[in-house]
């Protein structure tokens, strides 16, 4: 299987008042195309730091991250921004839609960075919004005028507008109730089933079940890995396998 991301000796250290905190320690990791990779771990284990280091949003202290064969750790901030716009999609726990823009404009603002043909982009944004079940009547609403679940699905549509190689999702259901959270996960799963590679950070087991590959981060290191295979609704054996893995990790 082809890898999209490869890290070598990835380290991230925060320094606060002279005290150094090693959040990521010498991580060697590969993320594969088509996978729905889940990063799990306890609070403060470094899972979000790992996600943002992989995506070029944050710069590691040491080591390297290669994305599709290109080492992104050598890029400056502007080069990383250009890299992100065409290779990565992001779904955040707090959604982070721009409040002063309509639903459609939030997607267009990301798409216009890559697409030159506005007509094609408008059509694609519409298709994506429909695909994430956002009714057309909501397209011209502002983020503060729609529900949290709807906003998160708009966030997913935005993350996919530029056909990214990889979508990074940081606890996308963390701020949602179980029902709307499930709808968001269903959306992500459906895109994964269509071939979209996803890396998702979560500490929620039911969310983690959606992935086919689970990475467990503990004290800044990849403490373990579990391959669950393709997600099938109600696959109890798969669920048990995940529970057992997490138990061995001390979850």
């Amino acid at each position: 299987m082809k890898n999209i991301i490869e890290t070598k000796k990835l380290c991230k250290t925060f320094s606060n008042g002279g005290i150094q905190q090693h959040v990521l320690k010498n991580i060697d990791l590969e993320i594969y195309e088509g996978d729905f990779t889940i990063i799990m771990g306890a609070s403060g284990a470094g899972k979000s730091t790992l996600l943002y280091s992989l995506s070029g949003m944050d710069k590691p202290t040491l080591g390297s991250v290669s994305f599709d064969g290109t080492e992104i750790t050598k890029m400056n901030t502007d080069e990383l921004a250009v890299f992100r716009r065409s290779h990565c999609g992001f779904v955040f726990q707090q959604v982070y839609l721009v409040d002063s823009m309509s639903v459609m404009d939030n997607i267009m603002a990301a798409g216009l960075l890559v697409y030159k043909d506005k007509g094609t982009l408008v059509k694609k944004a519409g298709d994506l919004l429909k695909a994430v079940n956002i009714d057309e009547t909501l397209w011209n609403k502002f983020p503060t005028q729609i529900s949290g679940g709807e906003a998160q699905r708009v966030g997913i549509a935005r993350s996919l507008i530029n056909d990214p190689k990889l979508v990074f999702a940081d606890e996308p259901t963390g701020a949602l109730n179980s029902q709307t959270g499930k709808a968001v996960l269903d959306t992500l799963t459906s895109f994964n089933e269509k071939g979209q590679s996803i890396v998702m950070v979560t500490h929620d087991i039911s969310s983690a079940r959606r992935g086919n590959r689970i990475l467990y981060v503990k004290d800044g290191e990849i403490a373990g890995e579990c391959n669950l295979g393709k997600y099938v609704t109600g696959d109890k054996e798969r669920h048990q396998k995940l529970n057992d893995f997490l138990a061995t990790m001390g979850w």
Binding site: F92, Q94, Y96, S100, M104, D105, A109, V122, Q145
Partner: protein
């Protein structure tokens, strides 16, 4: 430390950028008000102070030409009834003498004394600077020769009489009440006793002059006294030439152009103050909005609205107090630069002194204004509930219009997002619009002053009628000289205009232009209301005189000259900044009612047939014409005047001050725009920091976000530059008129060069864009990751 001071200290520490921005705005405001007030309350009053210190009395009369009959007893008889005291002295007076001054020359009367001038009990001369190594054949010149006339000690000063040149070495410069400034039509000189004796022996028969300095008794009006005295003096000897000034007239003449500039400075300053005040209010209001969450947290833990309000008031008052104190100190430091240019025009030595009012008013204004704005804005704090404040003031969803929908916009992505930001920040845009507009207006006013006082001097401010030269012939050759001039091909539009003093009902002296053919006048804007007189019973008087005595167009006015009087019909109002705004104009035929116009020497004003763009060429051409006239008619030519040369000399003092105004105003405008953009953009970036983080996460570069933000200010900047350029072009003259009325300029028509206005509008637009771009660099510091983890 109590809890309020603790909060204040925290505010100061946490909001350094805002504090520094506001500090600088307040500092500029205080400094500008301070300078303007010091000019009015300390610098200009120095002319009056010096007049009192040098015993200038209430006025001055001079008798020259023919002084027969003016014995000490006769003078005593004439003056003792109206005066408390007077002092007379004899010296020499050369009328209408050309003198090199600044960039040209002035044709002016020279009053020449020996060194007894330094010890007179009244109108005492005082040495300001001298070179005592120069011991013979020396001259002391009025201080203005040094400050504006381009003379230094050791230079040679020449006086010419009947073809004989008298050369003197300049030993020093004097402070003198009468004859200290080119605007008073008299320069008072002191030569060494030996040189004076030589000059006296050779010229006193022609030029002996009696000066009378007087102090009037209480209740005696200066104008009436002078008119009465002139009449009495002429009764003693009708061939005597009498002149006189009251002290207020001298002070006014020494200060009026400088005051015009100073008033314009204050006008421009007031607009800057308005802009700064607007920004102050906005910044304080923004601070409260930006810190709503902190304020909410403080309320939640038990701080009362009063505690928080007090901390805000103390915080802004500390900034205001510090800024205003440093600002006023700065105004005292900078003032000598302004003063050095202003005293060039006044010709009075001036050292800045501490002026309590000029110090307290700017400080008080800034501190009280800040207090007022803070208290009003901080009232919001008392009203907000902690939970609302913790939600950063959001009480409900904000339903807004989606301006510039990206899916429909035909603009580029950066332009579209800039427009979105523009529509989302209307309050900031309104402030930008007005602040930039005020600055455009200030710069246009400065441009107007520079254009009309320096680059292309508006001569009809200084002279009621403009021409190339004037020839005055004696009565004997009057017709012959006119014919000679009319036959010359190098001059045109020869017009006969006589200047005489006439009197209004023994109350007021009016400097009168008696014109043979009014249609030949060059100054077509002279009459700003009504029309110039046409018939022999008509007169036009200056607007400020009419206003002072309640005259309207159509009223009759009694004009006296000697024993004659006539009632004229007022047909119009003229404007003039000369002669304290006391001027009138009528025709030869009209003048015939009160004087024998044919017995008066011929005054011929002419223009050049081919006027050159090069002033020096014009000066040479007029010199040549005047010399040919003098060669042909010799002693029959009473006097000549090269107008180009005279204007060069007269304008010298104003050029520096108007150029300074332009430079200062443009510089201040750029600084104010920079500070205001700093505060606005700082606030904008703070409010949109989350959005910028999201944009960066999506792949927007810092450069494109900076460009978008700077561009978002451009619609209001461009609109302001266009609107205020047009408005300034149309409004500057009426606006200036409001302030110039007191100087006699009732309807200003100063030239405003369109390319200059366009350059100001375009220049400030470009400068604003780059300043905005510079201020947006703080966007670089926003990192998507930090924004995400901070949340």
């Amino acid at each position: 430390m109590n809890k309020t001071l603790l909060l204040t200290k925290s505010n100061l520490r946490k909001n350094r950028g805002t504090s520094v921005g506001l500090f600088l705005l307040m500092l500029i405001t205080t400094c500008l008000i301070g300078i303007a007030l010091l000019i009015f309350m300390d610098c200009y009053p120095s002319v009056s102070r010096e007049a009192v210190r040098l015993n200038g009395g209430d006025g001055y009369l001079s008798i020259s030409g023919n002084i027969e009959g003016f014995t000490d007893e006769k003078i005593k008889e004439l003056l003792e009834e109206d005066t408390d005291r007077y002092y007379t002295y004899h010296d020499l007076k050369l009328s209408n003498h050309p003198v090199k001054f600044g960039n040209g020359e002035v044709v002016i009367s020279l009053d020449i004394s020996d060194d007894s001038a330094f010890t007179r009990p009244m109108n005492t001369f005082e040495v300001i600077t001298e070179d005592t190594s120069i011991t013979e054949n020396y001259i002391y010149l009025p201080y203005q020769f040094n400050t504006a006339g381009g003379f230094n000690t050791g230079d040679v000063f020449e006086i010419e009489n009947s073809g004989k040149k008298y050369s003197y070495t300049v030993r020093g410069f004097t402070n003198v009440v009468y004859g200290g400034c080119n605007n008073t039509a008299l320069f008072a000189l002191v030569v060494d006793n030996g040189s004076y004796k030589e000059l006296w022996d050779e010229t006193h028969e022609e030029y002996e002059n009696i000066n009378i300095i007087y102090d009037l008794k209480d209740g005696v009006k200066n104008g009436e006294f002078r008119i009465r005295s002139f009449n009495e003096l002429l009764k003693v000897n009708p061939f005597a030439v009498t002149e006189g000034y009251d002290i207020d007239g001298v002070i006014s003449n020494r200060t009026f152009i400088g005051l015009i500039i100073a008033v314009s400075f204050l006008v421009a300053t007031s607009l800057i103050i308005a802009a700064v005040a607007m920004m102050l209010a906005n910044s304080i209001s923004n601070y409260i909005k930006e810190n709503m969450k902190t304020l909410g947290a403080l309320k939640a833990i038990g701080y009362t609205g009063k505690d928080i309000k007090a901390s805000l008031v103390i915080w802004f008052l500390i900034i205001a107090a510090l800024a205003s104190i440093i600002g006023i100190v700065l105004s005292y430091i900078v003032m000598p630069v302004f003063a050095s240019i202003i005293i060039g025009q006044m010709g009075v030595p001036y050292s800045i002194t501490f002026n309590l009012l000029a110090t307290l008013i700017p400080v008080g204004f800034v501190v009280l204004f800040t207090l007022l704005v803070t208290v009003i804005c901080a009232n919001k704090v008392s009203k907000i509930q902690p939970i609302v404040a913790l939600r950063e003031g959001v009480e409900s969803h904000n339903f807004r219009k989606n301006h510039v929908a990206l899916s429909k916009s035909s603009l580029s992505v950066n332009a579209s997002l800039a427009m979105k930001t523009f529509f989302g920040n209307m309050k900031q845009n309104v402030i930008t619009f007005f602040v930039l507009g005020f600055m455009v207006f200030c710069c246009v006013i400065s441009l107007l002053l520079y254009e009309n006082f320096s680059r292309h001097p508006k001569l009809d401010i200084l002279a009621t009628e403009i021409c190339a030269g004037v020839v005055t012939s004696d009565q004997e050759t009057r017709e012959e000289v006119l014919e000679y001039l009319e036959n010359r091909s190098d001059i045109k539009n020869i017009r006969e205009i006589i200047n005489m003093n006439v009197y209004y009902d023994d109350q007021e002296s009016l400097f009168c232009y008696i014109v043979k053919d009014l249609s030949k006048m060059n100054n077509t804007t002279l009459c700003y209301k009504g029309r110039l007189p046409e018939y022999d019973n008509e007169i036009a008087v200056s607007g400020s005189f009419a206003r002072a005595y309640g005259f309207e167009i159509g009223d009759e006015i009694k004009i006296d000259y000697g024993d004659n009087a006539f009632n004229y019909l007022i047909t119009g109002f003229i404007q003039t900044a000369n002669n304290q705004g006391r001027e009138a104009i009528f025709s030869y035929k009209a003048a015939d009612h009160i004087m024998d116009i044919d017995s008066i020497p011929g005054w011929y004003w002419f223009d050049l047939t081919n006027e050159s763009e090069d002033v020096d060429e014009n000066i040479d051409e007029v010199n040549r014409i005047l010399e040919e006239c003098e060669d042909k008619y010799g002693i029959h030519i009473v006097s000549t005047m090269n107008f180009y040369k005279m204007i060069g000399g007269a304008m010298t003092t104003f050029q520096g001050i108007s150029l300074m105004m332009l430079v200062v105003m443009c510089s201040i405008s750029v600084v104010v725009i920079a500070l205001i953009l700093f505060l606005l953009i700082k606030s904008l970036v703070y409010h949109k920091r989350k959005d910028y983080g999201i944009y960066k996460a999506l792949g927007y570069t810092s450069g494109s976000l900076m460009l978008q933000t700077a561009m978002s200010f451009m619609p209001s900047v461009i609109a302001s530059a266009i609107v205020f350029s047009v408005v300034s072009y149309n409004v500057a003259n009426p606006y200036i008129s409001l302030f110039m009325r007191s100087f006699g300029l009732m309807k200003c028509d100063f030239a405003i060069p369109v390319p200059g206005v366009v350059a100001i509008g375009a220049g400030l637009t470009v400068v604003s864009f780059f300043l905005a771009l510079l201020q947006t660099r703080r966007i670089r510091k926003i990192e998507a990751y930090n924004m995400l983890v901070a949340e």
